[in-house]
């Protein structure tokens, strides 16, 4: 029997601040599993019932299932409204918390902003790619952030000016996040590019568009995410070649250099 996936605890005591994320991700995984445990439903969406007289236990089960269905519907509506607002609020930090611009020293809340805004952006992008049910986890984003922080302390990756956009850093972040496992995209066999790769490529492109722009409002961030998703779909062959290529970071950086300026609002 295959081992069940566990949500690993952070490896060091320094990373204990990531512990709440582990719990949140574990709950997300459980919630997704519960949502997938749908009772028997026929093609018309009705519960399958036999026509034999129901036992008290069967009646109780049916009643439980019907109640559960109504509760889930109510919960879905409430969640959709409330969480959409919360995700959009988290996006305010998206443009300012990336590695594309050289800000030194990094603000204290950078780590939190980076993780929560990228999580929110990934959820919005998953919706754009018609994959609302995709499991997205925050802890891998946090781990990727720490890895990137260490990597970007290398001065060779720094831009010459604070005002220039570092396309390389955005591309490196995108590849690191894609490898992190933050998006559990379904295994679609040999199909390339994978859904997760498209989503992360769009995330990086949106970050680049916003880095070139001065307008970082929630509306602009949403517009950048929407446009980036549309364009990345049209660039599928290039994205597949980039992720399967020899130097994906350099190639993705070149792709962002090509695409982002014409997509940035004047």
């Amino acid at each position: 029997m295959p081992k069940q996936q566990r949500f690993s605890l952070p490896p060091t005591i320094d990373d204990l601040s990531a512990a709440p994320l582990v719990v949140k991700d574990a709950l997300r995984g459980i919630r997704l599993k519960l949502r997938n445990l749908a009772p028997n439903i026929d093609e018309t969406g009705l519960f399958v019932q036999n026509h034999l007289p129901l036992s008290p236990l069967a009646i109780a089960t049916t009643l439980f299932n019907e109640t559960r269905k109504i509760t889930l519907l109510g919960e879905d509506i409430a969640r959709d409204v409330l969480l959409r607002h919360r995700d959009e609020a988290r996006l305010t930090a998206f443009a300012g918390s990336g590695f594309g611009r050289n800000v030194s020293p990094l603000p204290e809340h950078q780590r939190h902003d980076y993780v929560s805004s990228r999580y929110a952006a990934l959820k919005i992008l998953a919706g754009q790619f018609k994959a609302d049910e995709l499991l997205i986890l925050e802890q891998p984003i946090d781990m990727a952030y720490l890895t990137l922080l260490g990597r970007f302390s290398d001065v060779s990756l720094a831009s010459s000016s604070k005002n220039t956009i570092n396309f390389d850093k955005i591309a490196i972040s995108t590849i690191e996040l894609e490898k992190s496992g933050a998006v559990n995209s379904p295994n679609s066999g040999t199909q390339a590019p994978r859904l997760g790769q498209l989503i992360f490529a769009a995330l990086g492109l949106a970050e680049t568009i916003l880095a070139l722009s001065t307008n970082h409002s929630v509306e602009s961030t949403l517009a950048a995410l929407n446009l980036a998703a549309d364009v990345i779909v049209l660039r599928k062959p290039s994205i597949a070649a980039i992720f399967d290529g020899l130097d994906p970071e350099a190639q993705l950086s070149a792709e962002y250099r090509l695409l982002a300026p014409p997509l940035t609002e004047a």
Binding site: V231, V233, L234, L258, L259, P261, P262, L263, T264, E265
Partner: protein, 198 residues
Amino acid sequence: MRLPMVAELNGESDLRHRIRDLRFFEESFRKNVQLTFPEGAMRSKTDQARLRSSFLAWLESFQANRHLATIDRKDFICFSAGSMLAELFRHDPLSISSETKSSDSATTVWPEGSAYVSYCLGVALTVLEQEFHLSAEIPEYANDPRIWQSFKENVQDNPDLAIPFLDMLLGQSPNWNEPATAEKRPAVKAKSTPVLST
């Protein structure tokens, strides 16, 4: 042939940069379609994904060849407009249904094709005017339906032939053999061939 967009495009300062903005490209392309087919009898539909694909493919070609602008800027403007036209033909974002015949021969023979040509020609003429104060005359044969019929057949066979066709309309020497290879254009070859000293 009608170029309804020229006056509109001339209102844009620095069109050569503006045209590299996806939003501006989409908006001006749609406006050109509206102005080209004002009659109610012609209905047009633009496929946004195809229009964006043409823009992205053109952008790639533009970036790959832009170093040639230093050799002959005017020729590069014509080549870029031709490349845009080739990508519009390749992705074909426009579909037009008409119930009446237009007075314009190009529009009658090939409404979609004439819309693509009028847009790219309008962009090229405006940029040439803004950059070099040139006002090119469109040759008389641009109104000959036989030219349009031949052009349609050729471009359906090879969209890149749109590049030398646009060169002809702009009075630039065309390269029919390798139309998409910018280095092989007569103007580029003439200026980049090293002079051998004796």
